[in-house]
């Protein structure tokens, strides 16, 4: 299968390659992700029980308390956080979280075109997400 490159907008610079973890639901880092484990705990969330550790986390948008930025920072500091964030629409909670955590972030990406398990390359400078290896 041909590699596809999705073009969005670079929010926080930096590049990385990793396995995508994709959600169709907005995510609140405060209350929605357990601070001590990096596992999603939000009720009825499609990622409930999933660990964010080392993943390229793709979800439509953030929501909830702005303190959520600090949760993203701490998870990354402790090695429990995502490697990069890909959003459909960047909201301030996630933008600030990615800035202080110093992980690449891209938005304006059609999340549905990425599947959990895909290997993707994120370029926070160019604002691109390249799917280099599809999940089954």
């Amino acid at each position: 299968m041909a590699k596809k490159t999705l073009v969005g907008r670079g929010i926080v610079s930096g590049r990385c390659k990793g396995i995508a973890l994709v959600s169709q639901k907005p995510l609140s880092f405060l209350g929605g992700v357990d601070y001590s484990s990096g596992v999603v705990v939000e009720k009825n969330h499609d990622l409930k029980g999933e660990s964010l550790k080392g993943k390229v986390l793709c979800f439509p948008s953030g929501h909830g308390s702005t303190v959520g930025s600090y949760v993203l920072y701490s998870l990354v500091q402790k090695g429990l956080g995502p490697k990069a964030v890909v959003n459909q629409v960047a909201d301030t909670v996630v933008v600030v979280g990615a800035i202080i955590a110093e992980i690449p972030m891209v938005d304006q990406i059609h999340i549905k075109r990425i599947k959990t398990g895909d290997v993707v390359e994120v370029d926070g400078e160019k604002g691109t997400v390249k799917v280099v290896d599809k999940a089954d």
């Binding site: 405060l30 308390s65 600090y70 701490s74 600030v96 202080i100």
Partner: protein, 388 residues
């Protein structure tokens, strides 16, 4: 976005890590939301103080900022914490005490004043047209709509960044054209009490999301507007509302609100009709005259043995309302400073049912505090708290 030479150097890290990371936040948000430059702010008000809400994650970050040169460059104040120093402090673990104290100490190290109130405008009232960077949503709406100062709805980190740099990017409601209303709300119902303003706010917030309404047919006091705005900002993303007639003869989308909608919002906020264990007045923190109103209803009465009454306010107001505080305390009520129900662990105190006059609290408490809620006007709340 245009940056001065000094701002550029700050962004490059010449003024230390705390200033650099603050500048990165301000510049990135400014770029994303269409700012052209940074503008000085008269004050910054920071949410993200209560340990209950903030958790351990934030301590890591605040610690780095405080220890890497982060110092406030403008008047900066703090939201409520998870306990007061007289009553609740005795009820929680050493760990919680230590963590909360640490958070406040880190902010103090950054020269941010430990005001510990969500109503900083009673301590120092912003003037018309002053630019602010505030992050308590109820205070943001009050500042913009009642005091007519100008502040975006900042998050906890962006308000901190603004405090440390003393500036904010000039996007959003810092631009006059972004302060104009884009929807007209015609109120076709009476609002007899502050709870009705709150219920209206919950209804409108859900409906309008981040729109800027002009509200026609509303004649409330500042305290009632405080309830309205706090509620709108809870169920929606309201930053600002206007009262009266739309300023231009433009065709605005128009919405009518009737008594039925307000009644429905009210009943959706009430999850119990059983007697409360805790009656709470003071979300947002009470103004002087709200402490007075509570005292007047309590005069000569006693609080039931099986319930508590909390009246939450700032230390500033409490010190100036001493006579009323005495009346409330003689009746067996508590006037608590530095905290409120939403940011403390009332479930751990055995509270199962809460009664309040605040629609914001009624909106949040079932999830944030895991308690049932009844919403009623101040007078009824206090009467329910009293012995027959």
């Amino acid at each position: 976005m245009y940056l001065t030479k000094q701002e550029e150097r700050m962004l490059d890290g010449e003024y230390g890590w705390a200033n650099q990371v603050s500048m990165k936040i301000l510049v990135r948000l400014g770029d994303l939301f269409g700012a052209t430059k940074l503008i000085p702010v008269q004050s910054a008000h920071l949410s993200g103080v209560s340990y209950k809400h903030l958790g351990d994650a934030a301590i890591d970050f605040l610690n780095e900022v405080a220890n890497n040169g982060g110092r406030a460059q403008t008047l900066a104040t703090l939201n409520p914490s998870s306990f007061d120093q007289e009553y609740l402090v005795k009820h929680y673990s050493k760990e919680r005490f230590a963590k909360q104290t640490r958070i406040i100490e880190l902010y103090k190290k950054m020269l941010i004043q430990p005001t510990l109130t969500c109503t900083p405008y009673y301590l120092q009232k912003p003037k018309l047209g002053q630019h602010l960077a505030w992050s308590e949503s109820s205070a943001v709406v009050y500042a913009n709509s009642v005091l007519k100062a100008w502040t975006n709805r900042e998050g906890a980190p962006s308000a901190l960044a603004a405090a440390l740099v003393g500036k904010t990017p000039n996007y959003g409601v810092h631009q006059p054209e972004n302060r104009q209303s884009n929807v007209l709300v015609k109120l076709e119902a009476e609002l007899p009490a502050e709870v009705d303003y709150g219920a209206l706010g919950i209804y409108l917030g859900k409906l309008l999301k981040d729109k800027i309404p002009t509200l026609k047919g509303l004649h409330g006091s500042d305290d009632e507007m405080k309830q309205l705005g706090a509620a709108m900002a809870s169920s929606g993303m309201t930053t600002l509302f206007h009262i009266g007639e739309p300023s231009k003869k433009e065709k605005l989308e128009t919405i009518s609100v009737e008594a039925k909608e307000i009644e429905e919002a009210m009943s959706s906020l009430c999850t119990t009709d059983h007697a409360p264990d805790l009656v709470f007045i003071g979300c947002p923190h009470c103004a002087m005259n709200e402490v007075e109103s509570a005292a007047r209803v309590l005069q000569g009465k006693k609080i039931r043995k099986d319930a508590e009454l909390w009246v939450c306010t700032s230390r500033y107001v409490r010190e100036r309302a001493k006579n009323y505080v005495d009346i409330i305390e003689r009746a067996g009520g508590r006037v608590l400073c530095d905290t409120c129900v939403l940011v403390t662990w009332i479930k751990d105190l055995g509270v199962q049912r809460l009664m309040t006059n605040s629609a914001k609290t009624a909106f949040y408490a079932p999830t944030l505090n895991e308690v049932d809620v009844a919403l009623a006007p101040l007078k009824k709340c206090i009467q329910v708290a009293c012995r027959n």
